[in-house]
Point group: C2
Chain length 401, copies 2
């Protein structure tokens, strides 16, 4: 049998493709600090398991294709407390934010249509687009500018008749950028001028460390064009629940998405029961978690600033930092660090940066670090990273100095 | 914003699209017998919830993109007991059989490529193909022939350079057909002659009522071309768990599928823990469930045979029967039955048949009935169906006689 060009053209996830090397390192007894993946070490609020343990039905039956009403109501309430008002019909439960992104792309793109993103961007956006025969139209942003957006005319100049949506991650993954209100107004103007969809991936909205978060969902002029992607994964440290949602006030959009939901039948029933309970956490939960991540952000920023030749922009949100490393090739360095390096039996794993660019020739010496470990471990991990750099045969700093 | 032609061209699921009418009927106090959907009333084996209740981790973390090893081992053991031997690497866990089907289509089809199926077929195959820009190439089978396959040369004549796979549901949904060994050998010959993929959707393999089941997985000549779709949904009455798998001995295929798995991160962790326990049921479990469904099959076949003008082929497996009804339009009749008919406050819901054909002008007077209720309820449901037929304004029997 022949495999499709479609699937052969997909790239492996930069976040997960080095897992075999990490497994080998662990097999010979090394401890690996995982900075490669956004898997927090924070405890999932216990009400998740409590509600599931108390689930009484004797049949684990299909749930509603659109999602369980209790969970939808919980999400509605979460937004209402932020003065963002949705009808129950605006919210559709999905298998993680991932499925929400796939459904949005399906609803907006025919073959060869384009989704505009700002580089570096979450690597799997490319995979989802390619799976559907759509294309990523990427515009570069720069570490020196804190990964903020280019000027309005630069963005407009890149819009083509094939451009159907702008996809923004706010707060940003992998950059940690949080867009200013001015930037958001600019994006809104462009979206409305060209009648595009705005896909706002706001799964990290609770993780903002300097100032107040503004959601695109607060901008009523966008009501008909805005598609919000959300998830319990990071918010409640429940990545394995795979519960996300797609939210939109445009009724025509929702009507079409329901056809996709019905085709895959439903999301897992029990995980929806548990996820609804997650939204019952006390308001202090978000504050405490946020403070913990802010501490980690400060820890990693300080630790990185001490490493010669490492360039990073201080992240303002989410829990990633994109760094430029003084190496020939960050993927080679990542593999070398897992295979050939340790300090007292410990080593570190991170995601090679070029996977977060459309053109993998870009970002070759960059890496994404997820600061999902406690501060002591983070300090140790960045120390090991610094020592690994100096020992790595492809270290480039001496030659530059 | 503009919606894609792709999504606007999708059809609503015939199995779920009439749910709003059923909800209205229930809202005014009617009892609705659900023959529209394959949601069994059989209790899920309690070890599913037991293992989940005992799950100890404080963090609901991402699981392996390929699936949890314990679950993969359980599936490997299930097949080994049937003398079908898989390596752990051959089995990938998916979000239900649905995702397994989508991944298979992604891996085999570029835009406009074709998947060959035999009508009537599971309606969502069309949706999955359309979502990916692929096409269904359908060949009709007939109730008078028990929905068995056409002759070899008829099938070969329909293969085009765009045909990449044959997709068979065995036992059949919606037809209940179980293919003979001769038919399977014929399909194998065709698959190998044209180097096609054979996607064998065998989720109903435990539900066979007359004779022994033969799996395509037992035919070693197909090792390199066979993709098996499987699921716990029906086998263990755990539809809401959304745990399926895709199984293939072709290493190149598996390597590509893993890229799709990594992009959507993982399947739900807890449901995989529970699903692994399902495979610990005693061997008598399958026998008991099978006997119960056989009784239901006999009950519905007998009841249907008493209804004038209703034509059905006795199903040999799965738990559906496709019937031709003496009505102008089965969808109109289904809606009318929900809205305008009841006997002692009870009515019946079924899936309109044309959704199971590529061309919705076909099967207009047909319906799919799922016999997922106990025999007493089934008898009552078919009695109500018969009375509804006689009362329905679009009843065609008088005019024919």
């Amino acid at each position: 049998m022949k495999l499709s060009f479609r699937i052969q053209n997909l790239s492996s996830s930069p976040i997960r493709k080095l897992v075999p090397y990490a497994s080998e390192a662990k097999a010979i007894g090394k401890k690996v600090y995982h900075l490669n993946i956004g898997q927090p070490d924070i405890t999932t609020p216990p009400q998740f398991m409590e509600l599931i343990r108390n689930y009484k039905s004797e049949i684990i039956a299909y749930s509603d294709s659109k999602g369980e009403t209790e969970l939808i109501k919980a999400i509605q309430k979460y937004y209402a407390e932020k003065e963002i008002n949705y009808e129950l019909e605006d919210i559709i439960i999905t298998n993680g934010g991932s499925e929400a992104l796939i459904f949005a792309a399906m609803a907006l793109c025919d073959a060869a249509d384009e989704i505009m993103v700002f580089e570096p961007y979450y690597a799997n956006y490319t995979t989802f687009a390619k799976q559907l025969g759509a294309t990523i139209n990427s515009i570069q942003t720069r570490v020196e500018e804190g990964y903020h957006l280019p000027r309005e005319e630069e963005i407009e100049a890149r819009i083509t008749p094939k451009t159907k949506a702008i996809l923004l991650t706010n707060p940003g993954n992998p950059t940690g950028v949080v867009y200013t209100e001015e930037e958001m107004k600019m994006i809104s103007r462009i979206v409305l001028k060209y009648d595009l969809a705005l896909i706002a991936d706001e799964v990290y909205r609770e993780f903002v460390y300097d100032g107040v978060y503004h959601s695109f969902a607060s901008m009523s002029e966008l009501d008909n064009n805005l598609i919000v992607i959300d998830s319990v994964s990071k918010r409640f440290s429940a990545c394995g629940a795979r519960i996300g949602c797609i939210i939109c006030k445009n009724k025509d959009f929702i009507k079409e998405i329901i056809k996709c939901c019905q085709a895959r039948l439903c999301c897992p029933t029990l995980e929806q029961v548990g996820a609804a309970a997650l939204y019952d956490v006390s308001p202090s939960y978000f504050e405490e978690v946020n403070q913990e991540y802010k501490k980690r952000r400060d820890t990693i920023a300080t630790a990185l600033s001490k490493l010669p030749g490492v360039v990073a922009s201080e992240p303002k949100g989410a829990f990633y930092v994109m760094v430029s490393l003084p190496v020939d090739d960050a993927e080679k360095f990542a593999i070398w660090t897992l295979k050939n390096f340790d300090i007292d039996g410990k080593t570190v794993m991170f995601a090679p940066g070029n996977g977060f660019y459309k053109n993998p020739a870009h970002g070759v010496n960059e890496a994404r670090l997820a600061y999902v470990l406690n501060s002591e471990e983070l300090k140790d991990a960045i120390y090991i990273l610094g020592e690994a750099l100096k020992a790595y045969p492809g270290y480039t700093l001496q030659s530059k100095q």
